[in-house]
């Protein structure tokens, strides 16, 4: 057993224990990995509504007269196209195009933006923001401690969240505000499951009562285990697995979130990768097993390539994952052989997303 003394707890820690969670260390936090079971929770999100404590995610507030110009300089997407009340996905690149983090930025007012960071990257991101902010009339603030974050996801998520908040919800990739129990709630039409839903950023003190109200209204608590299987079915990247400082956004399939004409840090390297291919000659593809077995991150692809994420898909009933493979073997339907701890399993390059919600 590892020591848990220096791990942080979210304001919902007691709620997780009360809901029967198995709590594990994750990115410096004690987080619920599962409650009823990964498979059951996964299917609950696909068929109804789940609520996730994602308070370990960080926030950086950027404000000031040159906030837009500054963010345009470091974020890969075109920040000019981010309107007040909008949400935009982008990556943060090193000069050589390596990915520092992938993140959503919300524009809260003309010159106020909030960027959501991955827990394990928050400190690094904040330092990167601070380094480039020196050239601009802008203030960068660590807003980590100001927010707890709950994701409400699934086909019933909007109905349940709007009922609890007593407020209309923003559309997908938009944000809005609500007052709940005298607390300001920032509502974002975003998520990490491939389902419709919202993410709620609230003052930590308000989080436990909001959690209770969401459960009362029918949302089911979902742990990090199902969060991971849900995002893999949706082919969303997990930083540290599918993205890293050694991989560029083009190879990772995130070219759509890069607008090199804005001149962002790393844009020259990204433009080169887009034109000539990634430096390592590989591309991230989703795949599914065509027979038995379950792939895991770190498995190797026979004849070149590496699995970066893998699991058993509760929705599809087969092994699925994402792998970096040589570009010439990245086309849809290409057969792959994946070495799962010494046993070679057949797979094929599949369509993204791996799971498509019924329309």
């Amino acid at each position: 057993m590892s020591s848990t003394t220096d791990l942080r707890r979210t304001p919902l820690y007691e709620r997780h224990l009360a809901a029967g969670a198995r709590v594990v260390p994750f990115a410096g936090w004690e987080m619920p990995v599962q409650y009823a079971g990964v498979k059951e929770e996964h299917l609950a999100v696909r068929s109804g509504c789940g609520v996730f404590d994602v308070s370990h995610m960080g926030e950086i507030r950027t404000h000031g007269p040159q906030a837009a110009e500054f963010l345009q300089r470091i974020l890969s997407n075109d920040v000019d196209r981010l309107v007040v009340g909008g949400a935009q996905y982008s990556v943060l690149c090193l000069e050589d195009g390596g990915v520092i983090d992938d993140l959503f930025t919300y524009r809260l007012a003309d010159d106020v933006y909030l960027t959501v960071t991955n827990a394990s990257n928050h400190v690094k991101d904040l330092a990167w923001f601070g380094r480039w902010a020196q050239d601009y009339d802008v203030t960068v603030e660590d807003a980590f401690d100001e927010f707890a974050m709950l994701a409400v996801q699934g086909p019933d998520a909007r109905r349940i969240a709007s009922q609890v908040l007593g407020h209309e919800l923003p559309l997908r990739f938009q944000t809005g505000g609500a007052i709940w129990n005298d607390a300001d709630v920032l509502v974002a039409g975003t998520g990490y499951t491939g389902e419709d839903g919202v993410e709620l950023l609230v003052p930590p003190a308000a989080a436990p009562a909001l959690w209770d109200a969401l459960l009362e209204a029918g949302a089911v608590p979902i742990g990090l285990g199902a969060r991971d299987t849900l995002r893999m079915e949706a082919c969303f990247h997990l930083y540290g697995n599918d993205l890293s400082e050694d991989r560029d956004p083009i190879g990772a399939g995130l070219g759509w979130a890069c607008k090199e004409s804005t001149g962002f840090v790393g844009s020259e390297a990204v433009a080169k990768a887009r034109k000539d291919g990634s430096p390592h000659g590989e591309k991230l593809v989703p795949f599914r097993f065509t027979d038995k077995g379950i792939p895991r991150g770190g498995n190797t692809v026979v004849d070149g390539g590496t699995v970066t994420s893998g699991t058993f898909s509760p929705s599809l009933g087969v092994g699925i994952g994402m792998a970096y493979v040589p570009v010439e073997r990245s086309d849809l339907g290409t057969p792959l052989q994946i070495d799962v701890r010494g046993r070679v399993r057949p797979a094929e390059v599949a369509t993204k997303p791996l799971y498509q919600r019924p329309s």
Binding site: V38, G225, K292, G293, I294, R296, T311, F312, R341
Partner: protein
């Protein structure tokens, strides 16, 4: 999932495996503790009938949605039967870890190894 239980008629290995001894044939499986730690089992990768298993070494892999674990042989011998139902219903390992969720039957090469296994009381005490 069933409540915690550890039948008295079984022998236990400290790596959370059980053996049901019937003459020179033993049935193997994993304990309630092991299946609970693993979570819902979605895949059991069985050894071939006729292969040999060695006490204290892995003979199969069992996977939940989130992780893979080796299954350790409590005794040595030759695999004479593999539970065919686990291919389609690996969840039996969770729901019925001592009955429907049995994994393999082994003809023991050295039945005296049984003496080194834990009885129910000693195994349960080891879980604290």
């Amino acid at each position: 999932m069933a409540d915690a239980s550890y039948p008295e008629d079984l022998k236990y290995h400290p790596e959370h495996d059980w053996a049901r001894i019937d003459g020179d044939v033993a049935t193997f499986g994993i304990t309630w503790f092991a299946q609970d730690a693993l979570g819902e089992v979605v895949f059991f990768d069985a050894p071939d009938v006729g292969s040999t298993v060695t006490k204290d070494e892995s003979y199969a892999e069992v996977e939940s949605v989130k992780a893979v674990s080796d299954v350790i042989a409590p005794l040595s011998g030759e695999v004479v039967e593999v539970n065919p139902a686990l291919e389609d219903s690996p969840e039996s390992i969770n729901e019925s870890s001592y009955e429907d969720g049995w994994m393999i039957k082994v003809r023991l090469s050295d039945p005296s190894q049984v003496d080194a296994l834990l009885d129910q009381a000693a195994y349960v005490a080891s879980l604290d």
